[in-house]
């Protein structure tokens, strides 16, 4: 390039033309032997350390605070009671009841995750507007992952009509529609209510990669959740909870999400429908700037808690750069991430 070009200090350059800025950072490592660095100083495969802190909120049954670089998420889990009379199309379960399992969780909507981004966590997320498309997508992704991983078992959320000492005539209408009330005497083994877990996530600060942070916060909060021991009070005909007794929620496994974005050499707008040309880089744990410059991203959820790496979910959006090899290689990267996160969750 012989033509006179203007020289700009880095922050100016980043603001004026972010795509070339990131590209230049990735390509202009002084000697080629050194790996490429991103604008945030990290290597392409370098993640930000994750910090998780459990139980900081006293009004929630379980809570966590997860910090991933400058992304900070607060998660509060709160249980509320759903009496079976209020469940439309309730299917009665008995104590030994198997086979329904996960169905109840999903059919009765017992897990309610919601993500709030509009807390001023970043300049583009100001309150007073309905949830953005991103917030809705994130909530739905967390929702479906909660169900597909089966982390929370429905057994923990059932409230039984406890075997009351006298075996008094518990006349609860609605619940079994008479099916179970054949004699109405020995029928302590009935589900009278469910716990519904409201999982609310609040972004305190947003700097990219919201899903990994949100998911880690959900897992940390659920592992920290203890619900009060609930029983059926036949006299008051309602579910009452004990103030002192609490039961820890059983959380199966430790699924960890790992996201990477694909940065292409050609700028977003210009790449038409054709094949991607030029080089591309896989940027692990993208920050806010990088997310706006990448249109392709992959999220893999893995769980290595039983010794073997199991892939729980793979999501990939946009672009055509990620092929079979990359996905396969990504499992190793995700595995490495799992170890890091597992260490942070302790």
């Amino acid at each position: 390039m012989s033509a006179p070009t203007i020289k700009l200090p880095a922050p100016l350059f980043a603001r004026l033309s972010p795509h070339p800025f990131l590209l230049r950072n990735l390509t202009s490592a002084a000697d080629p032997s050194r790996p490429a660095t991103r604008t945030n100083g990290r290597g392409t495969q370098e993640t930000r350390p994750l910090h998780a802190k459990a139980s900081s909120l006293s009004h929630a049954h379980g809570s966590s605070l997860v910090r991933l670089g400058d992304t900070t998420v607060l998660c509060g889990v709160r249980g509320e009671v759903l009496p079976v009379e209020r469940v439309p199309l309730f299917r009665p379960v008995d104590r030994g009841g198997v086979g329904l399992g996960r169905g109840e969780l999903r059919d009765y909507d017992l897990l309610v995750p919601n993500i709030e981004l509009a807390t001023g966590s970043a300049p583009q997320f100001l309150p007073g507007v309905p949830p953005t498309a991103l917030a809705q997508t994130l909530s739905t992704r967390v929702y479906s992952l909660l169900h597909s991983t089966g982390m929370v078992g429905v057994e923990d959320l059932r409230v039984w009509s406890k075997p009351a000492g006298g075996g008094e005539d518990t006349e609860m209408e609605g619940a079994g529609e008479g099916q179970e009330e054949e004699e109405g005497v020995k029928e302590e083994d009935r589900v009278v209510a469910y716990w519904v877990l409201y999982i609310d996530l609040l972004f305190v600060s947003f700097d990219g990669n919201p899903f990994d942070a949100a998911w880690a916060a959900v897992v940390a909060a659920l592992r920290n959740t203890s619900l009060p021991v609930a029983r059926w009070d036949p006299e008051r005909e309602m579910v009452v909870c004990s103030r002192t007794e609490k039961r820890q929620l059983n959380v199966k496994g430790l699924p960890v999400a790992c996201t990477a974005a694909v940065f292409e050499e050609k700028e977003l707008g210009e790449v038409g429908t054709g094949v991607p040309e030029g080089r591309h880089w896989l940027l692990l744990d993208p920050d806010r700037l990088e997310e706006t410059l990448c249109r392709e991203a992959i999220t893999m959820v893995v769980d290595c808690s039983d010794g073997e790496t199991r892939i729980k979910s793979i999501e990939k959006q946009g672009g055509t750069a990620i092929g079979r090899e990359l996905v396969r290689g990504f499992a190793t990267i995700a595995e490495k991430r799992w170890k890091e996160v597992q260490g942070a969750m302790k």
Binding site: S63, R78, G120, S121, P131, V196, D200, L202, S205, R243
Partner: protein, 286 residues
């Protein structure tokens, strides 16, 4: 109508857990204040919690000695000065917009996702308190958004809902909101004449119906038998000005001294908060 943009949960309404108080021994110890009447609770303030915002701050007021009573936790972010929306009319000074929202898990009762009237009320009082502190004409044609998330409200878990403490809790929340917003504004570099801080004082009746009411600062509703009146004051210490005064309660007009002493105690509480605020800001720039 269901909110289609959120995950709504089960169709039937859920009930917050009802606790079995009959079987457990009476937990509630007699209500006593754990601090002298003139002492505010310890406060922890930090700026820069939201790096992506122009300015931000986090405030935590110490959990009081009584177990189960949570302290106030507030997170504030300031965005701006930024350009006004295209539809907005010309403004020769900065346009302040405040937004206060409780997190769904902040209080005993699960909060909804939309702001309720009490949260709007807090926002309006906060705006009034800050407007007096900001040098608005330094920033023509611009706006600033001040957003506070109440991560945890100042509420007692043990007391039942029926006590009507909500009103007094709002006072404490507002006091905290003012202080945390002042820290975030200073962090954002928006010109202010002074650091504004909030303080709360209350008139309480501790020993039965006929006892003589006393004035205390930074009241916790669960520590007092009955709160007759309370006021929240936003005060500029160097200027010696009150930018916002919010009084609630029941006070006879005959006793004007009672009112003045309430305001004075509120100012005193605000001065205490200000010391923490200035200390925190000094730490920020070091």
């Amino acid at each position: 109508m269901a909110d289609r943009r959120r995950i709504n949960g089960p169709a039937g309404a859920t009930i917050p857990p009802v606790f079995d108080d009959v079987s457990t021994p009476k937990l509630k110890s007699p209500k006593t204040r754990s601090r002298p009447p003139n002492t505010t609770r310890k406060m922890y303030l930090k700026t820069g919690v939201t790096p992506s915002a122009s300015g931000s701050a986090y405030l935590e007021i110490e959990t009081s000695a009584t177990p189960g009573v949570s302290g106030l936790k507030l997170s504030c972010s300031v965005h701006g000065p930024r350009s006004l929306p295209r539809s907005a009319p010309f403004s020769p000074h900065i346009v302040l917009s405040t937004h206060v929202k409780y997190a769904p898990f902040a209080t005993k009762q699960r909060r909804g996702y939309l702001r309720d009237p009490s949260e709007r009320d807090l926002g309006i009082h906060l705006e009034a308190a800050l407007r007096g502190a900001i040098i608005a004409d330094r920033w023509p044609k611009s706006g600033v958004d001040i957003i506070i998330s109440i991560v945890e409200g100042d509420q007692d878990r043990e007391t039942s809902l029926l006590q009507g403490d909500e009103v007094w809790d709002m006072m404490n929340a507002l006091g905290g909101c003012i202080t945390v917003a002042a820290a975030a504004l200073a962090d954002a570099g928006i010109d202010c004449v002074d650091t504004v801080a909030g303080g709360v004082a209350a008139l309480v009746q501790d020993a039965g119906e006929d006892s003589i009411p006393t004035v205390v600062v930074d009241p916790i509703p669960s520590e007092h038998e009955k709160i007759l009146a309370a006021c929240c004051i936003a005060y500029l210490p160097t200027r010696d000005e009150v930018t916002n005064l919010w009084f609630r309660g029941d006070l006879p007009t005959s006793d004007i001294d009672l009112y003045t002493s309430l305001v004075e105690k509120g100012i005193q509480a605000s001065k205490n908060a200000n010391r923490v605020l200035v200390g925190c800001l000094a730490e920020t720039i070091e």
